[in-house]
């Protein structure tokens, strides 16, 4: 194989072309490199030494010309690598029953170098986490995103009795508190979940984004006519704390999404 860098300097782009040529060569095969820059062989010599290739046939007389014998280091690095499942969850065996903690943050389906550090994701069992529906639900949620800046006519004029406005600010304060709990709960589980279960994490993340937006609109509404929020009670916080502390995802999700959000819908309809 031969590559001609012409006037391209090795250290300013030429290295990429040489790397590409070597990647296509077998270990022990020689790739010849030519170029017109007088410093070509200076850089090639240093680069080959660092990368574990052998440099031969160096010609330092004006026009650079060298032979690079591909070394085994790159192959040695990857020969013990492991495929972390398959990207497409529909493929049989794509989602591991219990992915290795050494797959860490690698995307499902990536080739993971052996010797990667061991992570400690507590939620790492497919049986407990995985849902074949997660990808569809995430896609649905992602497609239904809305912009709070334009979805609500914030500039519209309105005038309410002082007591009613006070009550609304108090209701918003209560809602913000609850939406914050709703934001924290999925995030707590995301941080513990093995990234192998990508679609589930994405679904929880889009839920967290929804809750963040809810916090934004409730805060914005509360501050339309007031400078501060209303009251936060000890009892209310104690109730929400049980939700935040709940270690079981199924129970936390039931409390949050069925009981909590269900009550909210009733409250919002009332308002």
């Amino acid at each position: 194989m031969h590559i001609d860098l012409e006037d391209l300097r090795f250290e300013h782009g030429g290295a990429l072309l040489v790397k590409r040529a070597l990647r296509l060569a077998a270990v022990g095969e020689t790739v010849t490199v030519a170029g017109r820059h007088p410093d070509l062989t200076v850089y090639l010599r240093a680069w080959c030494r660092t990368e574990g290739h052998k440099l031969r046939q160096v010609d330092d007389s004006g026009t650079g010309y060298a032979g690079i014998v591909r070394g085994p280091a790159a192959d040695q690095r990857w020969c013990t690598a492991e495929r972390a499942g398959r990207a497409d969850p529909r493929v049989i065996g794509a989602v591991s029953d219990r992915p290795s903690q050494r797959w860490g943050l690698a995307g499902r389906g990536a080739l993971v170098e052996a010797g990667s550090p061991e992570f400690h994701f507590a939620l790492d069992r497919k049986m407990e986490i995985w849902s074949g529906d997660a990808a569809r639900m995430y896609a649905q949620a992602a497609a239904a995103q809305w912009d709070p800046a334009t979805a609500v006519p914030w500039e519209a004029a309105f005038d309410l009795p002082v007591e009613v406005e006070d009550a609304i600010v108090q209701a918003m304060t209560y809602l913000i508190e609850n939406e914050t709990a709703a934001l924290v709960v999925p995030n707590r589980f995301i941080a513990q979940m093995h990234p192998h279960f990508r679609e589930v994490i994405q679904l929880l993340a889009v839920q967290a984004a929804d809750e963040a937006r809810h916090i934004e609109v409730f805060t914005r509404r509360a501050l339309l006519k007031r400078k501060e929020l209303g009251l936060s009670t000890a009892g209310g916080q104690a109730s929400l704390q049980t939700l935040v502390d709940e270690p079981n995802f199924a129970i936390a999700a039931f409390l949050l999404s069925v009981l909590g959000e269900g009550t909210f819908l009733n409250l919002l309809w009332f308002l």
Partner: protein
């Protein structure tokens, strides 16, 4: 704690040195070699410790190798280079100038100023200055030497001196700069040297860099196992690869000493080692 480990000396030129030798200690322990290490702040202290028998093996710079070899000679003993990295072989240094500047050849440096690294750096000072002397330009007589004396005692392992030298060249504070070829590549890649800012005036002959040095017959069976384990390290092994990536090589090679002739001639030319080696030999007699 092991009672009688093979004791290695290394110079702490960077915080990663602790990570490297802790890793090697763990690896050697798994392989059945009792091993420990001592860090020195400078090579001279380490060289004397090896000569005095405080350590069994020294991870030596090329200059420290010459120091050890010459001290051993004065004591009627023999120093041996038992192992080295593949990246320690066949290095070259370069003398560079600003692209588009008035300097077109080495001879044009006459009467001008050349930046170098630390005064004890083989790659950024001693060897390239000797090369210029061989080209007929004697340092300090035929051109001014701008010294970037970073961390003297570490024999140029810390590349700060070379980085300062090329920065001085780019700023126009000098007309030439000396550095090892791998740092020329590194400085170009990291942007210390802007694209097309310098070009090479001269390349030195090839020379070798670090080696593991022992004094003959001391702890011979442990040293032999140490050497065998090093030479048996495979880049395929992920535990080994982590250590090799920190230290730089893809594999270890048997030590050789023919690659130190150039530096030996350089230090003789500049009379660099005589005082130190004589003093250490006197203390170790």
């Amino acid at each position: 704690m092991n009672q009688n480990p093979l004791l290695l000396g290394a110079v702490a030129y960077d915080p990663k040195v602790v990570t490297i030798w802790d890793g090697f200690q763990n690896y050697f322990d798994k392989c059945g070699l009792e091993f420990d290490y001592v860090l020195y702040t400078n090579y001279e202290r380490q060289v004397e410790a090896l000569a005095a028998g405080h350590i069994h093996v020294a991870w030596n710079s090329p200059l420290a190798w010459l120091q050890s070899e010459r001290i051993a000679g004065k004591l009627g003993r023999r120093a041996e280079a038992i192992c080295m990295r593949d990246t320690d072989r066949d290095l070259v240094s370069v003398i560079v100038t600003r692209e588009g500047g008035p300097v077109r050849s080495v001879n044009d440096l006459k009467g001008l100023r050349v930046a170098v690294g630390a005064k004890d750096s083989p790659q950024a000072t001693l060897i390239p200055l000797y090369h210029l002397a061989q080209c007929g330009l004697e340092p300090k007589r035929d051109f001014e030497v701008l010294l970037f004396d970073r961390l003297v005692g570490k024999h140029g392992d810390h590349i700060g001196g070379e980085r300062d030298a090329v920065r001085a060249l780019v700023r126009g504070d000098c007309d030439g700069a000396c550095l090892i070829d791998s740092n020329l590549l590194l400085f170009a890649q990291e942007g210390t040297l802007p694209a097309g800012s310098v070009r090479t005036l001269a390349t030195t002959p090839e020379y070798d860099h670090c080696n593991f040095t022992v004094m003959e017959s001391r702890m011979s069976s442990s040293v032999e196992l140490f050497r065998k384990l090093l030479l048996g390290m495979s880049y395929e092994d992920p535990d080994v690869r982590r250590l090799l990536d920190l230290e730089g090589p893809k594999r270890w090679l048997p030590g050789r000493t023919q690659g130190y002739h150039l530096l030996s001639r350089a230090v003789d030319h500049f009379g660099y080692l005589d005082e130190f080696t004589a003093a250490v030999a006197a203390r170790c007699t």
